[in-house]
């Protein structure tokens, strides 16, 4: 067993955490790689956005399909999973005051993911230098075939991520054995464990289907059944997005504590909700298979509902308990008047908080509401593979996950990179610009999808086709509007990248051993001092949050029935 000494650690003045230097280096490299890939993927995203504007149509179809494949892979997989590796190491080592298990394997994780991503990039971007294309989209459904190194790159990337998961689990074993914490794991680390369990399932599914597909691409296997591929691939493709949800929810809980000194309203409820994710969230991969032939409705309904919607229940719980914890903390600190004083007086100029809260509200109202409705087996028929889909998942992955990752970055930079945030004025505005872009983008695209505009489509005007079809003018208008805000979203992303690069390369250094930064006071400690034990009204500690939750509830119910009303007017289908 490796021995560690105190000199392997430093006490961080910003967070007060005892930080393992090797772990910190790995967090740095993974986070840095993530941000670079966000930039790369984002640039392809701008190309996609400017092509999907019917009045611009920047790229030729071939280049568009290449850019769309690159954008999907880089932003959905590479940026997010690199960042998640940083988060996992941070949770296992930094948060627990612990050393990282097997740093060499952790480096293997980093390099395998990097080499894998590079291989995929070479395959996808080959048309730029006259090579054979691999424009098969992120989903790479056979019988469409990419170059062999496309699949090989994905496999290496996934193996790297799997190694990262086990390094995290090993790190937890060390923490337990070396007693770096007492009792149960902190809630955010519990969330990290949840994400890891789902990640292992996800990556194994990916390996199960990508390895045979790779063998098929080199001619060793004659045939990949397209339906089988979809069933197994979505165990990877969908579940990988569930890892994001779990990770960003953990980040919400973390930020609530960092900014407000809030504690979870109930450890039991929040952990129970994470447990529901482990048990039921992966069933959601059938959301992508609802309009496929050969799968029975019984199987579809059981899975698409995550067995009685128990994973939806979990998300609804987190959606209440995170703002609820903030409300209780604010009230205990004296903002115990009215329904929303606690929220009005929140630090809206602090991008750590504003980013987190925008992520929470946007994820609930845009990604969440639409996700629940679109995954109904019957409703799926009127949205499947339309622009509604990109609208929805930008409402989860960009509005929710990416915004949360950006928000926590503003805290991680001083802690991990030991630099103060540079361009603080830009950082303050960044969550608002980025969210404005992402929210309008998502909503406009969902509108266009409801009007039938297809996704992954280079030319929605069908120019020059004898069997012409014209989408309604309003659909084209919504595409123009949405993609303009797509560019606004890109501006927000570039602001983030500028702040990150300026801070870590030119930000004011926070020297080791400098005086501890003032910490946010624990709300309970304040309440103890002031004797404020009973807060809230109507016998509820968080009545404002309850009202917000009721608005969300009414939105879901209304939107659910509006969609059934629309469904009931179309051709009979049975």
């Amino acid at each position: 067993m490796a021995t560690t000494t105190m000199s392997d650690f430093r006490i961080d003045p910003v967070s007060g955490l005892k930080i393992h230097k090797t772990a910190n280096t790995l967090v740095k490299w993974n986070a840095f790689a993530a941000v670079v890939f966000l930039l790369v993927g984002g640039l392809f995203g701008v190309g996609v956005a400017l092509t999907r504007m019917p009045s611009v149509q920047l790229l030729s179809p071939e280049l568009f399909y290449m850019a769309l494949t690159a954008h999907g892979l880089v932003n959905l997989m590479v940026w997010i999973i690199f960042f998640e590796m940083a988060v996992l190491y941070f949770l296992g080592a930094h948060v627990l005051g612990n050393r990282l298990a097997t740093p060499r394997w952790a480096w293997a994780q980093f390099w395998l993911m990097l080499v894998g991503a590079a291989l995929v990039a070479v395959a996808v971007l080959a048309p730029l230098w006259g090579g054979a294309p691999s424009s098969v989209m992120m989903t790479s459904y056979p019988p469409l075939q990419a170059q062999p190194h496309f699949y090989l790159g994905l496999i290496l990337f996934a193996v790297g991520a799997l190694i990262g998961c086990f390094v995290f689990l090993g790190t937890l074993v060390i923490a337990k054995r070396e007693k770096t914490y007492n009792g149960s794991l902190p809630l955010v680390v519990f969330g990290g464990v949840t994400a890891t369990v789902i990640a292992v399932y996800t990556i194994v599914s990916g390996a199960l289907i990508l390895i045979p597909t790779f063998l098929w691409s080199v001619g060793l296997i004659s045939h990949i059944d397209p339906m089988m591929y979809r069933v197994v691939w979505w165990g990877f493709g969908h579940s990988s997005q569930q890892i994001n949800v779990v990770t960003h929810i953990s980040i919400w809980y973390l930020i609530a504590s960092l900014v407000f000194g809030a504690k979870p309203m109930s450890e039991k409820v929040s952990r129970g909700a994470f447990l529901l994710y482990i048990l039921f969230l992966q069933l959601g991969s059938v959301h992508h298979l609802l309009s496929d032939p050969g799968l029975s409705s019984t199987w579809k309904i059981f899975n698409t509902s995550y067995m009685l919607y128990l994973a939806v229940l979990a998300s609804m719980i987190h959606g209440l308990t995170v703002p609820g914890a903030i409300e209780v903390a604010q009230r205990r600190k004296g903002l115990d008047t009215g329904l929303f004083t606690w929220l009005r007086k929140a630090p809206w100029g602090n991008p750590i908080f504003s980013g987190m809260f925008l992520s929470l509200v946007g994820f609930g109202f845009i990604g969440g509401v639409t996700g629940v409705v679109m995954s109904v087996e019957q409703i799926n028929m009127v949205i499947h593979n339309t622009m509604y889909l990109p609208g929805h998942f930008h409402g989860t992955l960009v509005v929710g996950t990416t915004m949360a990752f950006m928000a926590v970055t503003y805290w991680l930079i001083p802690v991990v990179f030991q630099r103060k945030i540079a361009l603080a004025g830009m950082a303050k505005w960044q969550p608002y610009i980025f969210s404005l872009g992402a929210w309008v983008f998502s909503i406009a695209l969902m509108g266009a999808g409801t009007l039938g505009v297809q996704r992954r489509h280079a030319d929605i005007t069908f120019a020059g086709q004898p069997l012409a079809y014209e989408y309604p003018e309003i659909a084209k208008g919504l595409m123009d509007l949405g993609e303009i805000f797509g560019v606004v979203m890109a501006v927000g992303a570039i602001m983030y990248i500028l702040v990150v690069l300026a801070s870590i390369f030119a930000g004011e250094k926070i020297p080791e051993g400098s005086a501890p930064w003032p910490k946010v006071e624990d709300a309970d400690v304040v309440a103890e001092r002031t004797g404020k034990h009973h807060v809230g009204m109507w016998g509820m500690e968080a009545p404002g949050t309850f009202i917000l939750a009721m608005i969300l509830f009414a939105t879901i119910v209304l939107y659910y029935f509006i969609n059934f009303k629309y469904l009931s007017t179309i051709w009979g289908l049975s």
């Binding site: 496929d292 032939p293 409705s297 028929m381 499947h384 339309t386 086709q465």
Partner: protein, 185 residues
Amino acid sequence: MGTSYTPPTNPDWWREPIERTEIWWIVLAFAWCLFMFGWMVGWHFVGPQNMSNEAYKTTPEAFSKKVADMQAKYTVRKDEATGEDVVAPPPGSDVYLAAMQWQYRPILELQKGQKYRLHMSSLDVGHGFSLQPENINFQVYPGYEQVTTITPNKTGIFAIACGEYCGGVDAMGHHTMLGRIYVKE
């Protein structure tokens, strides 16, 4: 006392009572979850729009032959725009529609208010059936033949766009793929 990033201060956190805000929300949310589940099942019994559960294994050759047989039997006229056959199978019959790079064929003519058994399969890669402006969307695969009973409830000219990326080059590809269904009284 406590935060989300430190261990729970009460080691017996499992026995802590749950606060009322959370209890009410969990009860309400769970009731809605059960309702949604019941409604999705119930729509299969009372709703007129449901996924078909009927599907068969097939091959591109076998399916092409069924399409050709139907076309030989029920072609009624030439389409003005393309000069291709327009096929009008009788109400209640089996209708075959093939997806291929990069079109849906044949062009069909159906009657409003009549039932048809629509068979769909692909002759090459994966495609998506997307009927516009109704916005009805299904996946279509090679090797699988899905049968959906359809009842057009409006007259007019309907386009079939492709809902699943199916490759192609600039001049011709996923973005140029179309088919057509005429529905008359």
